[in-house]
């Protein structure tokens, strides 16, 4: 299995779009650091440091930026091989299809998790260079009654973000397994990401006004923002971290079961 995962990771990172995505993330991190610097100099907000800002940056990016970039990096992991014709040679090895699918899933998760980590490091360095690095032991901030230290909060954000990344990757692999071409899979993953980022605030409003609206909060996309529990900015009120984790876990299990079933039975005609 390790060999299979190594194969899949090597395929993702060998593609030019992966490097382009990393460059794009670097530029975004620098741009946010420059904005923070401008705000810092104008003195309009409580002075912040790199240590106290990284968790907020990662949380904010989990709403749209990360899923969108994941769509580009791994959206075609299954469909792309079908349309490029490489799936034929992949599936005529003495390895069962479900193992191949699982290796693709873990590879996608590892790469996406690494890019989130990379973004955090870039943000920390860029913010440190512009507004100062600060101490990981200092409190995260007075906002939202957060008393934990910046270091602990950042670790919490990353731990929860990994659950979100896993769920997103499971969903994107389902889409990639369902469609026949890589371009269509990437486009569909990116489109659903944008739609979900629009729908989440609406779900919050509906849930406030109608008791039936609460059911929408059980959808997976609401909980892709699970890391915002740490900064007390999770979009659905009264949800706990455990509740979000269980919801994401159930949806991810469903995505995996559906994808493997479809992949096992799929006729490879191209």
């Amino acid at each position: 299995m390790i060999g299979l995962i190594y194969n899949e990771v090597s395929k993702i990172v060998a593609q030019r779009r992966f490097i382009v995505t990393l460059v794009f993330m670097t530029i975004i991190a620098i741009a946010f650091a420059l904005l923070a610097h401008i705000i810092h100099v104008s003195g309009e907000q409580i002075p912040a440091t790199a240590a106290t800002s990284v968790s907020g940056g990662v949380t904010a990016s989990s709403k749209l930026l990360f899923p969108f970039l994941f769509a580009i990096i791994i959206g075609d992991s299954v469909a792309g091989e079908l349309s490029a014709g490489t799936m034929k040679l992949l599936l005529i090895r003495p390895v069962s299809r479900w193992k191949i699918w699982i290796s693709k899933l873990f590879a996608a998760f590892l790469v996406c998790a690494a890019t989130v980590l990379y973004y955090g490091i870039c943000s920390y360095v860029a913010l440190g260079a512009t507004i100062g690095f600060g101490s990981w032991l200092s409190p995260l901030g007075e906002d939202n009654n957060i008393t934990t230290s910046a270091g602990v909060a950042t670790l919490d954000v990353y731990a929860l973000e990994m659950a979100s990344v896993f769920s997103i990757v499971c969903f994107f692999q389902l889409i990639s397994t369902l469609v026949q071409t890589g371009v269509a899979a990437v486009a569909l993953c990116a489109a659903t990401t944008i739609v979900f980022s629009i729908v989440v605030p609406i779900v919050g409003l509906v849930a406030q006004r109608s008791p039936n609206g609460k059911y929408f909060e059980y959808f997976f996309f609401e909980h892709w923002q699970i890391a915002s529990h740490v900064t007390n900015t999770f979009p659905a009120a009264n949800w706990t971290i455990t509740g979000s984790l269980v919801t994401l876990g159930i949806w991810s299990a469903l995505f995996i079961a559906a994808s493997i079933t479809i992949f096992q039975l799929k006729d490879v005609k191209s």
Partner: protein, 313 residues
């Protein structure tokens, strides 16, 4: 176990895509050490059969076993001794040739770098193997495809149109290579090709598929041996062909310019020669014309019957 079972046993396989029946009740068997040709016109169902053989598609009915292992219910054991190229062997364009081979080697256990280098050497890619495959010609990609198929010393090699993109020298080398694998290593080879000359040159047995059905199968010699066929060069073509047709000879081709005709019969050619000389027709040359696999193939696929040659299935 693998020595006691046929390399391939396809029994009554059918495959439908929606309402379209791509393959209907196809059966054949390939023995270890045998080179077997699967031929048929475009759209006949050859590639569908090959995809079913390697587990890329599931037959709607029927069963396929490779060395006694069912390809659907015991996939890993069935496919383990198999190397294959299915249509054009598309590989990862962002890798070099060597990295592609290493990629496939990691999907099996025990493939050493020596085995990889040996496969590279056998297909003649040693000098270019570390280049990205975007720089490869179609023929080089085909060779790389063959290298990935033979990395693990398979007992059964399935080659779907392996001569695509190869130059005449490459085709000749591939033919010799296939025969060498079958004769010296006892490897079974299933070959699908449009180039009937290649199939005739390298295969022991063939099956002809048309409109999704096997219309004939048997040894290559059973398709190429038939009635005696001769070309006669004469000084009076109309007179000569009239005499031939009045007897038990069938004139299958006339060449007015060369004053020659091709004729076939169960009779001895000397009797026709005697008849022609008797009426004053001078015969300057008589030569035997061998029947090619292409002739048999065209006859079978155009008529849609299998009564002429081989055994109908």
């Amino acid at each position: 176990m693998s020595n006691t079972f046929p390399a391939i046993s396809a029994a009554n396989i059918s495959k439908s895509f929606g309402s379209r029946k791509a393959v209907i009740d196809v059966s054949f068997e390939v023995k270890p050490g045998e080179v077997f040709g699967l031929i048929g016109p475009n759209g006949a169902g050859k590639t569908t059969v090959i995809r079913a053989l390697v587990g890329l598609i599931r037959p709607s009915t029927g069963s396929i076993t490779l060395f006694g292992h069912n390809i659907v219910t015991d996939f890993e054991n069935a496919i383990r001794p198999v190397g294959a190229i299915i249509e054009n062997p598309e590989m990862y364009k962002f890798f070099t040739g060597r990295r592609n081979l290493e990629f496939y080697a990691r999907m099996r256990t025990g493939i050493t770098s020596e085995q990889i280098n040996r496969a590279i050497g056998l297909v003649g890619l040693t000098d270019r193997i570390d280049e990205p495959i975007t720089r490869y010609s179609l023929g080089m990609r085909q060779r790389l495809g063959i290298a990935q198929a033979i990395l693990h010393d398979p007992k059964l090699l399935i080659l779907d149109e392996p001569t695509n993109g190869l130059d005449p020298q490459g085709i000749q080398e591939l033919r010799q290579f296939i025969r060498h694998l079958a004769d010296s290593q006892g490897m079974a080879v299933l070959l699908s090709s449009h180039l009937l000359h290649d199939v005739q040159a390298v295969c022991d047995s063939i099956a002809i598929i048309n409109l999704g059905r096997t219309i004939a199968s048997g040894s290559v010699s059973s398709f190429t041996q038939g009635k005696a066929t001769y070309r006669l060069v004469v000084d009076d073509l109309p007179k000569a062909t009239a005499i031939a047709e009045s007897g038990k000879w069938k004139v299958v081709e006339k060449d007015e310019a060369a004053k020659s005709f091709i004729t076939e019969s169960d009779q001895e050619v000397s009797s026709l020669n005697e008849s022609l000389v008797k009426i004053g027709v001078k015969v300057s040359r008589i030569e035997s014309v061998s029947r090619s696999l292409e002739d048999a193939f065209l006859e079978l696929t155009n008529s849609g019957t299998s009564d002429a040659l081989g055994s109908s299935t």
